[in-house]
């Protein structure tokens, strides 16, 4: 390779086509953005803060009555000082009753924001659901449109019907209250007519259920007196205490070491069966998905690029990104199952290109990839992917890779 070619190569990797890595804002632009943001935010906040909204306004119909939750073209944006971050940019998938849906994707692709949208917990005021809907089938048989649900009504769903387990057990419990107090709180809040004594009994029962040997002692401990694994058990116990219909587990094992991870997963699967609930399982770890999930949703830069059953995704991945993930999955019993990093960077979330987001990293890109964003293409009832290569029901023979174009 000649020097010139080498230089060209370097340039190529540095300046990736269609991607604006650096954004310089003039003061004027900044002010304009900030003014624009506060206008938009005010509008959304006013809508959300309305009192006494009649129930009809947020009642809806499920597309499929077997689902607990249906995300439909959800858009959640953050209106930041440097521009609008389109964290979730048109996400559609279902969580069927009694099933585990795994959500995978690189860091920053919008997994957490998707789940927080479902809980109405996206960091307000800058974070707002700007479009789309989230339908939720409640235990009382009614279907609610979460995006339109007033705040006070949502309080009755959170913690009671949908519970959440977070990634960081070390920081997710309040350091100044005893475990018991934090657990009782949920029961006292959601169970009608619960007495402190009944709440305490329930908490102890839950601690027992998640395999804590000495519930009495843990009940009287402060969070800092417990190990990470124990705290995560406590978090799970807390999530379970009102027998939710859906548990959102946002990387529940990432912060734990490997043996504890396995125990926690085992526990999750166990309790899911006991309460006959669904789980939305967010993770980086394909091993966890393979073990736990029934359905898989693969996200990339705020969109779903492929979804299907575990079999379909693992044995017959269609999207080049998914294929990359599968290929990078360590075979055998390696401990570290994390996603390996595919070369290149995710596009700047403020300035998304109008073509396939994976284009700059895709080794199979074809001409049209740089022109328009690919539509979701359905392969089976459950399996679909968004890639131009899939248009004829599968891959073209990929001789025409980017280099040869």
């Amino acid at each position: 390779m000649g020097l010139l070619d080498k230089w060209k190569n370097i340039k190529e990797t540095e300046v990736e086509p269609g991607i604006d890595h650096t954004m310089y804002l003039t003061l004027k632009e900044e002010r304009r953005i900030s003014r624009e943001n506060s206008r938009i935010i005010k509008q959304f906040e006013r809508e959300k803060n309305r009192k006494n909204v009649p129930e009809e306004e947020y009642l809806t119909q499920m597309r499929d009555p077997n689902n607990v939750v249906e995300f439909d073209n959800l858009h959640t944006y953050f209106f930041t000082d440097v521009g609008t971050v389109k964290s979730v940019n048109g996400v559609t998938f279902d969580i069927p009753q009694g099933k585990v849906v795994g959500v995978v994707g690189e860091s920053g692709c919008g997994k957490s924001v998707t789940s927080l949208s479902l809980m109405q917990l996206v960091q307000a005021p800058q974070g707002q659901i700007v479009a789309g809907s989230i339908r939720y089938q409640s235990r009382d048989g009614k279907c609610y449109e979460i995006t339109k649900m007033p705040k006070d009504r949502m309080l009755k769903v959170r913690g009671k019907e949908i519970a959440m387990i977070f990634q960081e057990p070390m920081t997710s419990l309040n350091p100044v209250f005893k475990i018991g107090e934090q657990m009782d709180e949920v029961v006292l809040l959601h169970e009608e007519g619960a007495t402190p004594k009944a709440a305490r009994e329930r908490s102890l029962e839950m601690l027992n259920l998640v395999g804590i040997a000495d519930p009495q002692k843990v009940y009287n401990n402060y969070p800092h007196e417990l190990s990470g694994g124990m705290r995560q058990r406590v978090m799970i116990a807390m999530a379970l205490s009102c027998t939710p219909r859906l548990i959102i587990a946002d990387e529940p094992t990432t912060a734990l070491d490997v043996t504890i991870q396995a125990q926690i997963l085992e526990l999750l699967r166990d309790v899911k069966n006991k309460i006959n609930g669904s789980i939305m399982l967010i993770t980086h770890d394909l091993g966890v998905i393979a073990e736990m999930a029934d359905y898989v949703v693969v996200m990339y830069a705020g969109r779903i690029i492929e979804k299907g059953t575990v079999r379909e995704i693992f044995h017959n991945p269609k999207h080049p990104y998914t294929i990359g993930l599968m290929r990078s999955k360590p075979s055998g019993k390696t401990k570290d199952n994390r996603l390996y990093s595919i070369k290149g960077q995710v596009p700047n979330p403020i300035n998304m290109p109008n073509h396939c987001y994976f284009y700059n990293r895709c080794d199979r890109a074809i001409g049209i990839c740089a022109e328009e964003y690919p539509e979701m293409i359905q392969f089976t009832d459950t399996h679909s992917a968004a890639c131009h290569l899939c248009r004829n029901g599968g891959f073209m023979d990929t001789n025409s890779t980017k280099e040869q174009r």
Binding site: S38, M119, L121, P125, K151, D152, L155, K156, V157, R158, G159, K160, A163, M164, F166, E168, T171, S172, L173, N174, P175, V176, F177, E185, V186, L189, H190, Y222, H224, M235, M238
Partner: protein, 332 residues
């Protein structure tokens, strides 16, 4: 933890010792000492000779300004101070400890009331500002807080005096009692009321000066807590925003608040030098300023040692309160 406290006390003693030596040295090196100040006029008029002045200086122990001389007089001050004797004030002609114990109370009264007011105003405002971050309320409160913190106390005092005492005439200008009024000796309540009336402006000034800082402090700490994971957990449980803010978040913000506020308590005895002087309130700060201007070394030493001890006490109380309010700090 007790070990740690013990270490702190030991360190504090060393610091106190260093501080006392330094202040002594500096006050001795002041260009015009107490005698110079007192005799300047007489010398100029020829009523006193320089020899008289020198004799006086020797009498007051101010004659030898060489380093060994200072060291010697410092040591003698130190030994008597260690035995509890702070010496006689040149200016007030009484034992320093008497002057201190007489005048700290009025200073403490003023400081303590404004301390309570600051807490009652600053903390709720800080919480509200943090909950409504970037709202009009937040900005307004922040601007006022900044103004309060940035204004020099004499300026703020002068401003308020001008408006409320001179223009509107609804509050007294200066002093602690109305000089023109004569109260019957048993009219305690009226006397008290009259004093309280005189303290309104100084207390307002101190409150305005302090409340901004406390509000900012509360706001910053609340914001940090509100962004933490356990607050998200609390919300995910379905707790209402009020419970999240006032129970889960505020209980955590209380840790830095209690720690720093309790540390401020001893300092309340220290007096507010400038404000007291502007309002001519005979508090310890006012007395200390006069003594300092006159080169009253025993009083300067006594007062500054008193301040240093208050500071050290504040630090210790802070540490202890930290152990009390934060369950993560073990008492072992």
């Amino acid at each position: 933890m007790w070990n740690y406290l013990l270490k702190r006390v030991a360190l504090a003693l060393v610091i106190l010792f260093g501080v006392s030596a330094l202040i002594y040295l500096l006050s001795m090196l002041m260009p015009a000492d107490y005698i110079d100040n007192q005799t300047a006029a007489a010398v100029q008029m020829g009523a006193m000779t320089l020899e008289d002045v020198q004799r006086l200086k020797e009498l007051y122990g101010l004659a030898d300004k060489s380093l060994p001389g200072i060291a010697k007089s410092y040591l003698s001050w130190l030994t008597s101070a260690l035995s509890g004797d702070l010496g006689y004030s040149f200016l007030y002609g009484r034992p320093v400890s008497d002057v201190l114990s007489q005048y700290i109370w009025i200073s403490f009264m003023i400081a303590f009331i404004s301390y309570l007011l600051e807490i009652a105003i600053g903390i709720p405002m800080g919480i509200k500002a943090s909950v409504n971050q970037y709202s009009a309320y937040d900005y307004t409160v922040s601007v006022f807080a900044m103004m309060g913190t940035a204004l020099p106390s004499f300026f703020l005092s002068a401003l308020l005096m001008n408006v409320f005492a001179i223009r509107l005439g609804i509050l007294p200008l200066q002093g602690l009692t109305t000089a023109t009024k004569v109260f019957p000796p048993n009219a305690h309540f009226q006397i008290l009321l009259d004093k309280a009336w005189h303290l309104v402006l100084p207390i307002t000034v101190l409150t305005l000066l302090g409340v901004g800082g406390l509000m900012k402090f509360t706001r910053t700490n609340m914001l940090e807590v509100l962004n933490s994971d356990y607050i998200r957990t609390a919300r995910a449980k379905g707790l209402s925003e009020n419970v999240v803010t006032y129970k889960h978040a505020f209980r955590n913000t209380l840790i830095p608040l209690v720690t720093s506020l309790s540390g401020m308590l001893p300092g309340l005895f220290g007096g507010a030098m400038i404000t007291e002087t502007v309002f001519a309130i005979p508090g310890i700060g006012y007395m200390a300023l006069r003594a300092t201007q006159q080169g009253d070394i025993p009083f300067i030493m006594g007062y500054n040692m008193f301040l240093a001890i208050l500071t050290v006490l504040g630090m210790l109380i802070s540490d202890i309160m930290y152990m009390v309010v934060d369950p993560r700090v073990k008492l072992s």
